[in-house]
Point group: C2
Chain length 358, copies 2
């Protein structure tokens, strides 16, 4: 850890304390006042089957199929701030990720509504309520509960990490495991980025929050849409894109090898237009280890550091906050629904204030 990072860490810790004080005093309690709310589909394609449709003997001939769109729901609070927040979930998840926490408290959807932001929650193409995929898939009941417990750093199954910010009542874990929902078509970061870009076309200038696997589509969206005014990425897990010719080495881990991906320098430079902050939680190993669930994140954190350095080397404004370095302990992979999620929201608020986006 170099001196810059230490000083930055101290700064963030102070901002956290200040944000905590401010919001303790001023956070609105009681009812939410909602100016408008609703939902819609955006993006996607239409596939046509050749032939002539027979109304009374219908086959696929002459019929069409709408798919690969996203589903978004939104709420606009009274006296809303200028920039909405768009929240995009990660792998195995839906917009559910941002709603009520597994232990029953308010998630980032409602926390940021209370802070005055219009909030758009997304089910990405081929997931959740946007299930119509133009490419077939099969959904298998894959037993992954114990793997998820490890991989999402709740602990090492069946034991919780000592400091984990995850409520230990059995019903909390039950809710967490039931937030999982499958892909209904092949995962395709380009399809997702196309739909999210179409959402930003509709919504206008806004802030993008991404979680985990959504990190990659998030960067792609920022390259496509000038309406992305900032990215807040929670534990991006893959899709780290570098300029052609500047790719770091692949990174082996106990959970497999993480490889960077190449884009043109011209596209990469589009990532330097907006402020970006990345947060990672706790219980990462420092050295390689055979503990699969944790080692998986060691290399993702290391790759994200390379990525932030690359963005900044090209004139960008990217920042990585490894929470334990600023004194925030015990966070799982789901920072936005951990027991200290208000503290995490305060950190994000401090960042948005600093960047004049609040």
């Amino acid at each position: 850890m170099n001196i810059t990072r230490i000083l930055y860490g101290v700064g963030v810790a102070m901002a956290t304390l200040l944000a905590g004080c401010a919001t303790q005093a001023t956070r609105p309690l009681g009812p939410l006042v909602i100016e408008s709310q609703g939902s819609f589909a955006v993006g996607g394609v239409v596939k046509h089957t050749p032939g002539t449709y027979d109304n009374n003997k219908p086959t696929s001939a002459g019929q069409s199929f709408h798919g690969d769109h996203l589903y978004a729901s939104y709420q606009v609070p009274q006296h809303a701030k200028a920039l909405p927040i768009v929240m995009l979930h990660g792998a195995f998840q839906s917009a559910r990720s941002w709603e009520t926490t597994s232990d029953g408290r308010e998630g980032f959807q409602t926390l940021f509504l209370r802070r005055g932001f219009p909030v758009y929650l997304v089910d990405q193409p081929r997931r959740g309520r946007a299930g119509n995929s133009t490419v077939a898939a099969s959904t298998e009941p894959a037993p992954n509960d114990q793997l998820f417990f490890d991989q999402f750093r709740i602990g090492k199954w069946p034991n919780y990490f000592d400091n984990v910010q995850f409520d230990r009542r059995p019903e909390t874990l039950n809710q967490f495991l039931r937030s999982v929902t499958p892909n209904t078509g092949p995962y395709d970061a380009g399809v997702i980025a196309d739909a999210i870009s179409a959402l930003f076309d509709k919504v206008g200038p806004a802030i993008l929050f991404t979680h985990s696997q959504a990190g990659g589509p998030g960067w792609l969206t920022a390259m496509k849409s000038p309406n992305v005014k900032a990215i807040v990425a929670f534990e991006p897990g893959s899709g780290f894109i570098f300029p052609q010719g500047e790719l770091p080495a692949v990174m082996p881990s106990a959970a497999g090898t993480l490889a960077p991906e190449a884009v043109s320098l011209a596209d990469f430079l589009k990532l330097t237009r907006v402020p970006i902050v990345i947060y990672y939680g706790d219980n990462f190993p420092v050295e390689p280890t055979s503990e699969r669930g944790q080692d998986n994140w060691r290399v993702r954190l290391a790759m994200a550091r390379r990525w932030v350095a690359a963005v900044n080397r090209h004139g960008g404004d990217a920042r990585l906050v490894h929470l334990p370095e600023v004194g925030v302990r015990g966070n799982t992979h789901f920072l936005m629904s951990d027991l200290n999620n208000v503290q995490i929201a305060d950190l994000v608020s401090a960042f948005l204030i600093e960047k004049k986006l609040d």
Copy 2:
């Protein structure tokens, strides 16, 4: 049409007019004031794979899978009425059915919130955000747009019915067709009824709204849970259950044969405990026809009439409202999002007031 039905029709028409006047004058405008909102999973099962879980070389051995639950989101308005409304979507749909209409107006979710009801929206097991199914399935991009246009009585593709309560802008049809989302496991009315019953266990006494295919699971839920205090069924399409030995004949149509289903008399009698109202829209043929999309509904309406008669013969309180008979014209299969959905909501409100459930 007999005299009782005519008199009943006049009564409903008057109630409609009165409800219309009352709500024109008193319907709250402007912001929604929400006391609380959130989401959760309920019901479902856990499947265990034999063996011992190895944290660092995970396979399915020793792991578990959570599936067959439902997903529910809820909003409780300030000064809420006593009985919440649970809204269950039909085939090819999710909770999206009850949200913003395809043409961008408020759907039943927000309309009934404005009328003071806590509203619970459900994605049923194996659909939408409750996608984890204990039984595998494949999702194919089945081209059904034109069939849906016909079958949901928007018109006879590519022509709209003259009187149809469906906005004709292309974007409205685009939104409608993108509300479709596939099953992620085999449709199973029993699995759905189990999960909805678990939801009623959690929510307490409440009113159940069902749409289309949800009619069947709705009746099953009312048999299972004494917390179901009324059912409002919009165009129930299948799952008509009769006491063993009292089944009407199967009903052939241009869209296939509709068969009644048998339950024990003891179970059937549970349906006589609560008020039930069924609504069907317009453009049903009176006589059998080769027009598949419409003929499909001729037999469902006829079966529903037999069903209502059976419930009432056994001492129940069931009512069927075929909207054209009370002067309400042009409704598609999606009554709750048609252009006149406020008028439909007013009819429902009049029913709930009559039954002292409002």
